[in-house]
């Protein structure tokens, strides 16, 4: 669950950068959104996938 909370916080950071670039489309926000913002979002989704896949595997192993 800690990993998912980290993932959630990274998602919020990524979203903040993306929204900043939409409401203030100047070079710095746009560059940050397209680099750091999307990196945060990708890492967050990666963490989510790892946690969920591990949980599903554990549940299947326990069922056997």
């Amino acid at each position: 669950m800690t990993a998912l909370r980290v993932s959630a916080v990274l998602t919020l950071l990524g979203l903040a950068l993306m929204v900043w670039s939409i409401v203030a489309p100047t070079p710095l926000p746009v560059m940050l959104a397209m680099t750091l913002g999307q990196l945060f979002g990708t890492v967050a989704f990666g963490i989510y996938l790892v946690v969920v896949v591990r949980d599903i595997r554990r549940a299947r192993a326990a069922a056997k």
Binding site: M1, T11, V19, I22, T26, A33, V52
Partner: protein
Amino acid sequence: MVEWISSNPIFAVALACAGGSALLVIWFLVRRPLLTHATKLVLLMAIGILPIATATTGNVAGFEATKTREFCGSCHVMTPYSDDSNDVHSTTLASRHARNKLFGDENCYGCHANYGMYGTVLTKLGGLRHVYLYVLDYRNTSLADARKSIHIRTPFQNSTCMHCHSTEAPIWNAVKEHASLLPRLRDGSISCASSGCHGPAHPFSKVPM
């Protein structure tokens, strides 16, 4: 700002997706629910689908924003150029194109974009190079120094003008200078933006310092 966002549905979609995702993520952080199937689905929306939708629409919005004169003028070294384009009394090529509804707020992009097969990509790569140089070299440069040291990287191509002014229209060829210089205009050996023809494009282009 509300007017600006509502003028483009992409902005509204991006903000709605971001808002929805943020609400679900905050709910997860505050309530700390067990990792049930329902929680996983909520998180799939919050961390996966909605942020991807935000990034996609945000990218489109970002790429559109980078076409505007306001964006180009947001680097201080470009403000004299954008101010000239905004000046309704200016007679420079840039300003006259800014007053043309077909160019409007995107007159910088309209004239400085590449129009080949990979034109958009090449233009964006060139823009990235501008941001890189601005951040590293020109961020603290005074306007006076910028005017001396910043120049167009390669000579302006007539083919960019010919994207709209095809040189085929009878009314264009009725101008005797056009007709007599047609081969040289087409091969680029004479610039449309030469002083004495239609240039300079900006009030300080090609002016000895």
